[in-house]
Amino acid sequence: MTVNHTPIYQQVADWLENEILTGHYQAHARVPSQYQLAELFTINPATAGKGLTLLLEQNILYKKRGLGMFVVEDAQQRLQYKRQHVTLTELAQALITEARRVELTDEALIQLIKTLQEEGARD
């Protein structure tokens, strides 16, 4: 079993972000309620609610009283921007650190990425 240390509410928020990024929930689509999420993932509804609140605070979702939560018009673009500029930067930073730790030259690292990209393109 893989160990995932990310708090569950963060995992819920990440999951929903991914669903929005892939277009499964489009602009103004209603997302599952905290109770639906709780059943879906077998988690406490308060935890699911906290995941939704995170996205509400980042203006990825908006609330219609009594109706639920919906995807903000430009949520997908904003999430793409966030992932490109924040998440990818962090991952790249970790990659560079690890490469230097094992004394892989910068050129070799870039070559490694290029090779993987070419392999990916073939698949």
């Binding site: 708090p7 509410y9 059943e39 077998t42």
Partner: protein, 277 residues
């Protein structure tokens, strides 16, 4: 709400519970953890009105001791349930139906069918695991406002335990009420919880929302060891990489540090182990 004030108990001049102050709110699933002999079962029995010290426990403002109203709304599934050997399962459920105002007879029968227990079985005929499953179903179907489970599902196989906790969660979503679950297997129930109570040295060491706990206790890897001014609750030193568990309650200095969040059972483990260091 259940409110506990200055609850203490001694046995043979040794403390069992030491000045417990606790408020348990409606509609929450709460984990209760602590090492053996720390007083978990005694605390649950006190809340259920079974001890003389239960006069220190108030349900809706009234002591739970000798209180019929409280007895109908607080159900304790103890480690040795006291179902009569002379009754079959259907009769035990009938008894529950008579006592608990919101008892769900239909669901009880449905769940018995699901776990393949015949209502005509006598309680003494059940295996240890079956008895634990039946007791769990009974507790769920009481729909008591406060359902206290003392190490439930002990001796039950892993798949059934998982299924039954899923049933509990779904039932909670449909009919919100408070569950207090005492368990030595926090990893198994932590995804269900909203709050955690840790008992240490016979008193409440911590009672907190789990999201706050996960933001409060974090792991920092470092070399060499951290200096003393940091609120370290546990440290493990290794030749190459050491790590500390840090309590961020009163400080936010860690914002510039790389840290890992922890699962609830890890937080509990390090808190318990930290006390021994």
């Amino acid at each position: 709400m259940i409110k506990i004030c200055n609850l203490s108990k001694t046995s043979r001049h040794q403390p069992v519970l030491d000045n417990i102050q606790l408020e348990i709110l409606n509609e929450k699933i709460i984990g209760l953890v602590g090492q053996n002999g720390v007083g978990k079962s005694t605390l649950l029995q006190a809340i259920a009105g079974r001890l003389t010290i239960s006069t220190h426990v108030l349900y809706e403002g009234q002591p739970v001791r000798h209180n019929v109203h409280a007895a109908q709304h607080i159900f304790l599934l103890s480690q040795q349930p006291t179902f009569s050997d002379h009754f079959n399962l259907a009769q035990i459920l009938q008894y529950g139906n008579d006592v608990f105002p919101h008892f769900n007879w239909v669901q009880a029968n449905h769940l018995l069918q699901q776990v393949k227990l015949q209502p005509s079985y006598f309680y003494y005929e059940l295996s240890k695991g079956q008895a634990a499953i039946f007791s769990f179903i009974y507790a769920l179907c009481t729909r008591a406002t406060y359902t206290l489970l003392d190490e439930p599902l002990d001796g039950v196989d892993e798949i059934s335990r998982k299924q039954l906790y899923e049933i509990l969660l779904k039932d909670y979503i449909q009919h919100p009420r408070t569950f207090v679950i005492a368990s030595h297997h926090l990893q198994e129930i932590e995804h269900l919880l909203e709050e955690l109570i840790i008992l240490k040295q016979h008193t409440i060491y911590l009672h907190e929302n789990i999201h706050i706990l996960q933001q409060r206790f974090v792991k920092v890897s470092h070399h060499p060891p951290l200096q003393h001014q940091y609120p370290v609750i546990y440290m493990e030193e290794h030749p190459i990489q050491s790590f500390s568990i840090i309590d961020l309650q009163h400080k936010d200095w860690l914002e510039t540090w790389a840290y890992e969040t922890l699962d609830l059972h890890e937080i509990y483990y390090y808190i318990s182990k930290g006390a021994l260091q």
